[in-house]
Amino acid sequence: MKRRTFVGGFLAVAGLAATGCSTGEGVDLSGGQADFGNPTTGPVLRVAIGGEPDQLDPHSSSAYFTFQVLENIFDTLVQPDENLQMQPSLAESWEISDDQLTYTFTLRQGVSWHDGSPFTAEDVVYSYTRLIDEELSNAYKLAAVSEVTAPDDHTVVITVSQPTPSLLTNLGGFKGLAIVQRNNVESGQIANTPIGTGPFYLAEYASGDRITLRGNADYWGEPVTLGSVEISFISEPSTALAALRSGEIDWTDVVPPQTVEELRRDESLVLESLQSTDYWYLALNLKKDPWSDVRVRQAIAYAIDRPSILQAVAYGTAVENQLAIPETSPWYTPYDTYRLDLDRARELLAEAGFSGAPMELLATSEYPETVVAAQVIAANLAPLGITVQISQPDFSTWLDEQNQGNFDLLMMGWLGNIDPDDYYYSQHHSEGGSNAQGYSNPEVDELLDAGQVEVDVEARKELYARAATIIADECSYIYLYNPSVVQTWLPEVSGYTARADGAIRFGPVTLQES
């Protein structure tokens, strides 16, 4: 699909000005079609996203643009509804054993792959085993799984080593755990020509330009009424907006934040902006003095002007927060200890015997919001006698610096969280894999350990509320805000729902042809 034959290219350099057409032999992939799939008939939805997928194997990719496309091609065993509660998908129902160690999934019958072959329990076993055995980057989501078996074609049994209330969320939370087809993987085709069970199948991929998805007439869910979805890659927000306004595209999430207010008033467009499950935070290096003193950290939390940061980075589209989990989540805990209070900050610093020092703030050019916020933070901390030096290396250097503890303060975000364990464990448990700030509190460890195995929802909420409150009180992270998912489309598009997890699903969309 993606690979094209090319001949004209070099001749053209030689001055012949040919424009690279395909040769007569081989498959013409520039205008080629997939040789599988049973297409629907209907209108074409034209969509623009901000960048190109790196490749299309859901188990190997970690790129957001990839998952935007794959959302429409693949299915997971269960899937989050709009409130991020797990609902049936390829699994129609499931039962959990009394000891909470065995999950028995009953699979939906009559589901077929895009190439027409039947979907069976073996595919599920293959997919999870592949993730675990090949140690692919999303395998950590299956860390608690000890065995996956298929007693018959329509049943999958997953055994876990300890009660794992986050298991369903881990299986369905994102397409990185999609169920893939063995043949497609073993032939190596999956990276370019993925075959899934979702509402659309890949029809054409013009590198750098667009991907065309065709409606799957055999889809097991709500019948797809679109004929196809044409996804183009436009990284420049003003270009995307011009394309939407002139009717070249019907939908985009490449929206310049500074235009959101104006778009909201524009009656020729529909704009949706809702608080996402991502969050952005500050972290102080707890292994370094004076930041190891909790009073110094609290003083900084009182000196940060959150509304100004929000205005600077998101033009008011983000929502201020003081804990990681947004208010829209069932796991939300109210908390509002910190607000701009320089007197309180000075008091705390005096108690700690701190009279000022230089500070290195680690931002990265990869995420421009960290650089913008850093400038506001530098101004916020100046009155406390803290001179902030902002460093902004590229992201891989940033990761190295973070891991080696070469920072006083850093800013970063965590994206795509659903279960409270995603929000807190790896960041704040002493043994957590992403606890670069060096936070360690035995009580928090205990609460987070208990949260991983507590199956009673109410009891679990309490555990996380308690842990989150201690974490914020002790400023392991200083939370800043939850950004918004901002998407805009033409009024002819109906049936589309913007989601807090940023997943874009075009299956239920209908398009009124003008």
Binding site: A17, T19, G20, D209, R210, T239, D400
Partner: protein, 321 residues
């Protein structure tokens, strides 16, 4: 025009050898630069959460654990056979990625260059022949303005006018010329104009000075004093001799456009080499960056070679130097 095949052959051989040496130099520099850039590509390819085993496996698979010298010679050997490695992000062969993008960039560059020629040749000649007059001043001021316009700004203005306000042209996208000429033309015109106007401004100034320089030559004075008609002097003596420096600037501009339209391609979502380089830099996709720089350098060399050969045909004195 006299033609001495032996002399010309020698010239060509020397010129080819020179290009090969430069290309080798480019390979060395590109390889070294990528080594010096901070950041670990393996870490980036894996994202934030990965196991140590996965890290080591990818490092070994991409050959980054081998000694530098060994990495260089294997890169050199492969590059000479057209194998530029595989992309870190997608796992696709870099050569395929580059060649996929080349047609879009070439068609854009050709349109940009044509627009630039159509504007700059008459403007430059007119301006030189009317040196010091009002029309000359106007041309010079306009070209000064054209040189100073940032291309992204010009691109956005065009989009604002022709897509948002008038709704005449699509703001982005690409259709191969071979598939649908009308669709291609409608999409290429705005990015082509953006590139063409900026290049025209540079070329106008260049052509103007080339024509002026030749006008001051003794043989032009001689021709005039012989009583030749002014139009004949202009056509036969001035323009003909001004062609050599003009060829140079056209060649350089064409090569520059081929290799340097990153911003324009990003603004118009044009799937060419520039966009590929932009994405590759953002993702630290080293092999793709290396390959793209190499390809762009090779195109530069090829165009320079062609220009030199054309010189030698137009002006035999050059061969003797």
């Amino acid at each position: 025009m006299r033609f001495a095949p032996k002399q010309f052959g020698l010239f060509l051989a020397r010129r080819l050898a020179y290009s090969a040496v430069v290309l080798l130099g480019v390979i060395v520099v590109v390889f070294a630069l990528v080594q010096l850039v901070p950041g670990d590509p393996v870490r980036l390819a894996l994202g934030t959460r990965y196991t140590e085993e996965a890290y080591q496996a990818l490092r070994t698979a991409s050959g980054l654990d081998r000694p530098l010298v060994e990495q260089f010679f294997s890169y050199l050997g492969n590059a000479l056979t057209g194998d530029l490695g595989v992309s870190f992000r997608s796992g696709d062969p870099v050569t395929v990625l580059l060649l996929e993008r080349l047609p879009a960039t070439i068609s854009l560059a050709v349109v940009g260059l044509l627009i630039a020629l159509v504007i700059s040749v008459p403007a430059g000649i007119w301006s030189a022949l009317h040196e010091g007059k009002v029309s000359d001043v106007i041309v010079r001021l306009t070209s000064q303005f054209g040189v100073s316009i940032p291309d992204f700004w010009m691109g956005m203005l065009l989009i604002l006018l022709f897509s948002s306000v008038l709704g005449w042209l699509p703001s982005s996208g690409y259709v191969p010329l071979t598939e649908d000429f009308g669709g291609w033309a409608r999409r290429v015109i705005m990015p082509g104009l953006t590139i063409g106007v900026v290049a025209a401004a540079i070329m106008t100034r260049f052509i103007r000075s080339a024509v002026l320089e030749v006008s001051a030559m003794p043989y032009v004075r001689t021709a005039r004093s012989k009583g030749l008609a002014s139009a004949v002097v202009t056509r036969r003596h001035i323009l003909r001799n001004a062609l050599v420096p003009v060829l140079t600037i056209v060649g350089i501009q064409f090569a520059t456009i081929l290799g340097g339209v990153i911003v324009v391609e990003v603004v118009f979502a044009w799937p060419g080499l520039g966009r590929l380089v932009y994405d590759a830099v953002a993702a630290r996709d080293y092999t793709v960056i290396q390959g793209a720089v190499l390809l762009i350098a090779a195109m530069f060399l090829l165009i320079n070679l062609l220009v030199d050969v054309l010189y030698a045909i137009v002006d035999p004195r050059i061969r003797l130097e």
